[in-house]
C-alpha cells in the first residue's frame, strides 16, 4: 500500500479503489472523521476543493474545543485568543442595553475551551493532524457526484481527469452548501427561512498598536466575544451581529435569515455597514482597515432539518447534516461538526472490522450522535425558533426598546424621587410584555432557555 501511495501524484491521481474511505471536504468535520478513521487503522483520503483546508471556510470566529482536545494536541494549534469576556447587547437604533460576563476561571487553561481562530489556519492544522495519523489529503479537487451500485454508495466522482474514486465508505463533510448530498437525494434542499446569510469583515488597526487591548480591556492572550441583537444589529430581521477579537485583528459580522434578507432589509453588506456605524459599535472600529471580507450561509433548521445520517456506504456530518445550534445565547456549529466527524469515523472503523458497509452497520454513528451533546442540545432548543419567529416583533424590536427606555427612566437624575422613576421604568417594561399576565406567559414560554 505504501508503494502505491508513493507512486501517486496529484496531476494524474490514481486513487481508485486504493482507500477504505473517502472524505468529501477537509473542514473540521471531515478532518475529525479522517483522523478518527486513520487512528483506527483505515486508509483514508480527504478531498478538498480549496487550495488548502479552510480556504473555502468561514465562521464567526469562536471555536469550542472539548472534542478536538481529545483528538489532537491543541498546544500546537493556531489559536488567536481565548474568550475571557462574553457580552450580549440589545440594540435599538441608538441605545444599547448589555449584559457582560467575565469569570476569573476563563483566564485559566483550558479557558473554557473557547478560542477565536481563523479557519484558513486552523482547518489546515487540523487536517495535518489527520495526515500525520496516516490520512492522505488531496486539495484543489472538487467532488461532483457520488457513484452508486445497486443503490449503495461506492465512491465519488471528481473534477480531475479519470477522477472517479471508489471506496467502501464515503463521508460527506461538504459543508452547508451541500450540492453533492442534495443531488444524490440524501437530503432535501432546506427552506430559505431555515438558512441564514452571514457576512464578516476582519479589521486591523494600522495606526493604533494597542487598539484591541485598550478598546476591549484585554491583557495577554485574553479575548472578547460580543453578541448583539435587536434593530441596531440586523434591522427587523431574525438574526444578530457579533464582534470577536483575534490576535491582531477584530472580526465583525452578522447573520440573518435569507427569508428576511429578501424582504425589506437592506442587503447583507448594507446591513453590516449600518451595524458597524451604530453608536455602541462604531467606537470599536475607529481607524480600522478591512483585511478580508467574507460571506457564508448557515443551516439553522435545527433538529427537524437533520437528514438521515447513515446510508449504505455513506454518512453525512457537520454543516452538511445541519448540525448548527443558534438559540440566541449559544451559537455553535464547529464543535458539533467535530463531534459528528468523530462519531462517524468511529462507526466506520467498527463497521470495517465486521466487513460491512450497509447503513445498519453504521447506525452507531446516528445513535451516538443522538446521545451526545450535539443532538441533545438541538432537540432541547427545537421549540425556540418557532417561538421567537412568532414573537419576533417583541424579541427584536419591542423588548430592546423597552429595556433601553426603562433603563433611561430608572437612572434618570432630576428632582423627582427615585420612587417615581422606578415606577415609570416598571410601567414601561409592563407595557412591553403585556402586563403581569403577559410577563407570566413569556416567562413560561422561554423558561427553557436558561433552565
Amino acid at each position: 500500500m505504501t508503494e502505491i501511495i508513493a507512486d501517486r501524484n496529484t496531476e494524474t491521481p490514481d486513487y481508485d479503489d486504493r482507500f477504505d474511505a473517502v472524505v468529501v471536504g477537509a473542514g473540521l468535520a471531515g478532518s475529525a472523521a479522517a483522523l478518527t478513521m486513520a487512528d483506527g487503522g483505515l486508509d483514508v483520503i480527504m478531498i478538498e476543493r480549496g487550495r488548502y483546508p479552510g480556504a473555502k471556510n468561514v465562521f464567526g470566529g469562536v471555536l469550542y474545543t472539548p472534542t478536538i482536545r481529545k483528538l489532537a494536541d491543541l498546544d500546537d494549534a493556531p489559536l488567536e485568543r481565548y474568550i475571557a469576556e462574553r457580552r450580549y447587547g440589545m440594540l435599538t437604533d441608538h441605545d444599547e442595553t448589555a449584559i457582560s460576563i467575565s469569570p476569573g476561571e476563563w483566564h485559566e487553561p483550558p479557558h473554557n475551551d473557547s478560542y477565536t481562530v481563523f479557519r484558513g489556519e486552523f482547518d489546515e492544522w487540523f487536517a495535518e493532524q489527520a495526515v500525520d495519523a496516516g490520512a492522505t489529503l488531496l486539495t484543489e479537487t472538487t467532488v461532483t457526484g457520488l457513484v452508486r451500485e445497486n443503490g449503495r454508495i461506492i465512491g465519488v466522482k471528481t473534477d480531475r481527469p479519470d477522477g472517479t474514486l471508489r471506496a467502501p465508505y464515503v463521508v460527506l463533510a461538504e459543508g452547508g452548501n451541500s450540492l453533492v448530498s442534495e443531488r444524490a437525494e440524501l437530503k432535501e434542499t432546506e427552506q430559505r427561512g431555515n438558512v441564514a446569510v452571514a457576512v464578516k469583515e476582519v479589521v486591523e488597526f494600522p495606526d493604533d498598536d494597542n487598539a484591541i487591548q485598550d478598546r476591549f480591556r484585554l491583557t495577554g492572550d485574553a479575548g472578547a466575544a460580543y453578541h448583539y441583537f435587536g434593530e441596531g444589529a440586523v434591522g427587523d430581521a431574525f438574526g444578530g451581529g457579533f464582534v470577536y477579537t483575534n490576535g491582531e485583528t477584530v472580526s465583525v459580522g452578522l447573520a440573518y435569515r435569507i427569508s428576511d434578507a429578501v424582504s425589506g432589509q437592506p442587503n447583507p453588506e448594507g446591513t453590516l455597514n449600518a451595524f458597524k456605524t451604530h453608536p455602541a459599535v462604531a467606537p470599536l472600529f475607529r481607524g480600522g482597515r478591512t483585511v478580508e471580507y467574507a460571506a457564508k450561509t448557515i443551516p439553522e433548521g435545527g433538529a427537524d432539518s437533520v437528514p438521515e445520517l447513515t446510508h449504505d456506504g455513506a454518512v453525512i456530518v457537520g454543516d452538511a447534516a445541519g448540525l448548527v445550534l443558534n438559540n440566541g445565547v449559544h451559537l455553535e456549529g464547529t464543535n458539533m461538526a467535530v463531534e459528528s466527524g468523530f462519531h462517524a469515523g468511529k462507526s466506520i472503523v467498527d463497521a470495517a472490522e465486521q466487513g460491512r458497509t450497509d447503513a445498519d452497520a453504521l447506525s452507531a454513528y446516528a445513535e451516538n450522535l443522538e446521545a451526545s451533546f450535539v443532538m441533545r442540545n438541538l432537540r432541547r432548543y427545537e421549540w425556540l425558533m418557532e417561538a421567537v419567529e412568532n414573537d419576533r416583533e417583541f424579541v427584536f424590536r419591542e423588548l430592546p426598546q423597552a429595556l433601553a427606555d426603562a433603563g433611561t427612566e430608572y437612572f434618570r437624575i432630576d428632582r423627582e424621587p427615585k420612587e417615581s422613576h422606578a415606577e415609570n421604568a416598571k410601567e414601561r417594561i409592563m407595557e412591553a410584555v403585556g402586563g403581569y399576565t403577559g410577563a407570566a406567559k413569556l416567562a413560561l414560554r422561554y423558561r427553557k432557555i436558561v433552565t
Binding site: 476543493r49 480549496g50 487550495r51 488548502y52 479552510g54 480556504a55 473555502k56 471556510n57 468561514v58 465562521f59 441608538h94 481563523f118 479557519r119 484558513g120 489556519e121 486539495t139 484543489e140 479537487t141 472538487t142 461532483t144 473534477d159 480531475r160 452547508g176 452548501n177 450540492l179 434542499t189 432546506e190 430559505r192 438558512v195 446569510v197 452571514a198 457576512v199 469583515e201 485583528t249 472580526s251 435569507i258 434578507a261 429578501v262 424582504s263 442587503n267 447583507p268 453588506e269 453590516l272 455597514n273 458597524k276 456605524t277 453608536p279 462604531a282 467606537p283 472600529f285 475607529r286 480600522g288 478591512t290 483585511v291 478580508e292 471580507y293 467574507a294 460571506a295 457564508k296 450561509t297
Partner: protein, 104 residues
C-alpha cells in the same frame, strides 16, 4: 454635549474594495447561471437573488433576467436558497479556483 450619541466616523469600504481583499482565481467561466431565463422574465418580480447577495454578483438585467458578475462570488450559496423558483444553477468552481480565504 449633544443630545444624540456621537459616533466616530467609521469608514466602511465600498463593496469593490471589500471584494478586493479576497484572494480570487477566475475559473474562466461562470459557475453560476439561471436554469430558465424565461422563468426570471415571466414569473419573477422580486429579484430575491439580487437582494440577498452580499457580493453584488446578481444584478437586475434587461428584460427581467439578472446579469451575473460571477467573478465577485464569495461562494456563500445564498442565491440558491433565495430563489423561490429554484432557478439558480450553482456549481462549485473547479480545481481550487474561486475564492481563497485566509481569515474565514
Amino acid at each position: 454635549m449633544s443630545v444624540q450619541p456621537h459616533s466616530p466616523d467609521v469608514e466602511n469600504d465600498s463593496l469593490e474594495d471589500r471584494l478586493y481583499t479576497v484572494k480570487y482565481e477566475d475559473p474562466g467561466e461562470s459557475h453560476l447561471d439561471v436554469t430558465l431565463p424565461g422563468l426570471c422574465a415571466e414569473r419573477c418580480t422580486t429579484y430575491d437573488c439580487v437582494s440577498v447577495c452580499p457580493a453584488g454578483v446578481w444584478r437586475e438585467g434587461e428584460e427581467g433576467v439578472p446579469e451575473i458578475a460571477y467573478e465577485n462570488c464569495l461562494e456563500c450559496g445564498s442565491c440558491r436558497w433565495a430563489c423561490v423558483h429554484g432557478n439558480v444553477e450553482w456549481e462549485y468552481p473547479e480545481t481550487g479556483s474561486g475564492v481563497t480565504y485566509k481569515n474565514g
